[in-house]
Amino acid sequence: MNPLLPFIMAGDPSLEALPRLLAEAKALGLEAIELGLPHSDPIADGPVLQAAAHRAIARGATPVRILEVLAGITDSPDLILFTYLNPLLQIGAERLKTLLAPTPVKALLVVDLPFGEEPAFERDLRAAGYPMVPLLAPTTTLERARQVLAERPDPGPSAPFAQRFAYLVARLGVTGTGQSTDLAPVQKRMSELGILATRPLAVGFGLSDAASLAAVRAMGATPVIGSALVRELAGGRSLSACLAPLL
């Protein structure tokens, strides 16, 4: 099982630092990392990731520049590009595939793209090797959850974690730490779906301390750490210093 899925915002603390951060993540033994593409209107993000996105945009971290910085990088975990739809739509599927080809990006997590809204775009990118990560929220009914998982299927055990996992949102609301997250409903949902028998699962939103990460691992899933990490990195701590104690 993959023990940790960290999230970092591309361009924060800086775009120049990104290759080094990715190399550091690789050295820590991380298999995959979510890389946020900063957006002007991050409607699913809390204050920490909003602020990180705005800092990154202000420093010139545009989607295309970020992908250009990633081009040719091999010393990196697999990347899951975490983004909103509009920047990708404006780049267009054809150019996006060209831009992604030389990068370590293996999958896309598009926060505001439910399955079925852009079927041609999604099919095209999946065929090129960039599947969309299926997301399940506390409001997702069991029936819908099965539909989401079927629409965004697991390519099978030979594919890397980044292309296989489903993302279970642990609580209502937006990204960020704050109130402690009750993991009992997550556990219930996992057993209802029997999902771990078939594909890897990441659990995120609101996780920050070692105890909650351990609780997610004990359920057999990979914990996601986002806002807590982004805040520390922005404060000048190194990725290793932040993550080593959590691994």
């Binding site: 957006h39 002007s40 209107d41 991050p42 409607i43 699913a44 993000d45 809390g46 909003q50 945009i57 545009t62 989607p63 295309v64 909103y84 739809l85 509009n86 920047p87 990708l88 739509l89 404006q90 780049i91 926060v111 505001d112 793209l113 439910p114 809204e117 997301l135 399940l136 929220a137 506390p138 409001t139 997702t140 009914t141 029936e143 819908r144 539909q147 989401v148 949102v169 209502l172 609301g173 937006v174």
Partner: protein, 394 residues
Amino acid sequence: MTDSFALPTRFGSQQLGGCYAPETLMQPLLDLEAAFRTAWTAPAFLAELKAELRHFVGRPTPLTPAPRLAAKVGLRALFLKREDLTHTGAHKINNALAQALLARRMGKTEIIAETGAGQHGVATAAACARLGLSCTVYMGVTDMARQAPNVARMRLFGAKVEPVAAGQGTLKEAVNEALRAWAGRCDRAHYILGSALGPHPFPTMVRTFQTVIGEEARAQVLEQSGGLPDTVIACAGGGSNGLGLLVPFLGDDLRRVAVEAGGHGRALGEHAARLEGGRVGVLHGCKTLLLQDEHGHTAETASISAGLDYPALGPELAALALDGKVVVRRASDDEALAGARLLCETEGILPALESSHALALLTALAADGAATVLLGLSGRGDKDLSTYQSRLGI
């Protein structure tokens, strides 16, 4: 629990609209569509809505002939659909009240809303007070300053006004924050979106609740003048009063016009004219004409009127515009101010700055050959007095 939408989610030849929502909001949106569909055919709901629109909102609103303004701008006849005379002073109450009734029917106890000009916030706060629902309104800090009287009104109605300081502190940021708040409380709260915007089913639902404007106006103009006007015109922020007025005239052989905010210039960031300045993109859950930069980031906007100061045109109105069924024009800040002054002086009616953008186009319409015009006066201008005072030097 429904697992797919039953109503069409897309508009026009470019398939605008859709439901580009985070997964957390998908089931609440599916449930909302189902509740809306049932309510809209439920005699009890329709009867209660009709009674509230009559006794609380003050419908039907009058259609006022404006002969002195008509003469001044070179028209033969001009009729004003007086949404400014509704309770709370703008068309926003038609939708806010209907959605509040729907929320109560769905068993929701809390209401979330965004507001730009404050008219939707005031309308929602009033509807919530009347129905005994708790209400939180998100409003940009820039808008709170320029529409201060409405902030006080919302608070008097018992609503909590949450200032949104991000970005430009206007409507776009308020919608961001309202969507975030809804994702956190969607188990108990309903989000009353104030314009024909956002993810499905909001654009369709809001337009449905607003078409009472055009249905009344069409019957009234036929009764008063014995025929239809050659032009029907309204201002367009997201497009709710515009669609509400124009949709019932879609089958008629006349010119339908929507007026966007031309702001103070033609460069990106200086206006909110989405037809000319925008490209198709996705914001706040729908695909539509959007002011954006080359990176797909939402552009800044500018308008003297908070209610039109928004980067996206509602998807249905955008589709009607792109498919040639509605003409979209723009009026600058200065033109809107002049339009407001003219209505005040000729007819003794103080329009909202938003509605003044439609008034600003009258002379141009007459020059284009229009003779009889029906204009949607979406709101009253009390909230804008301080702007009128400073900008008109009175």
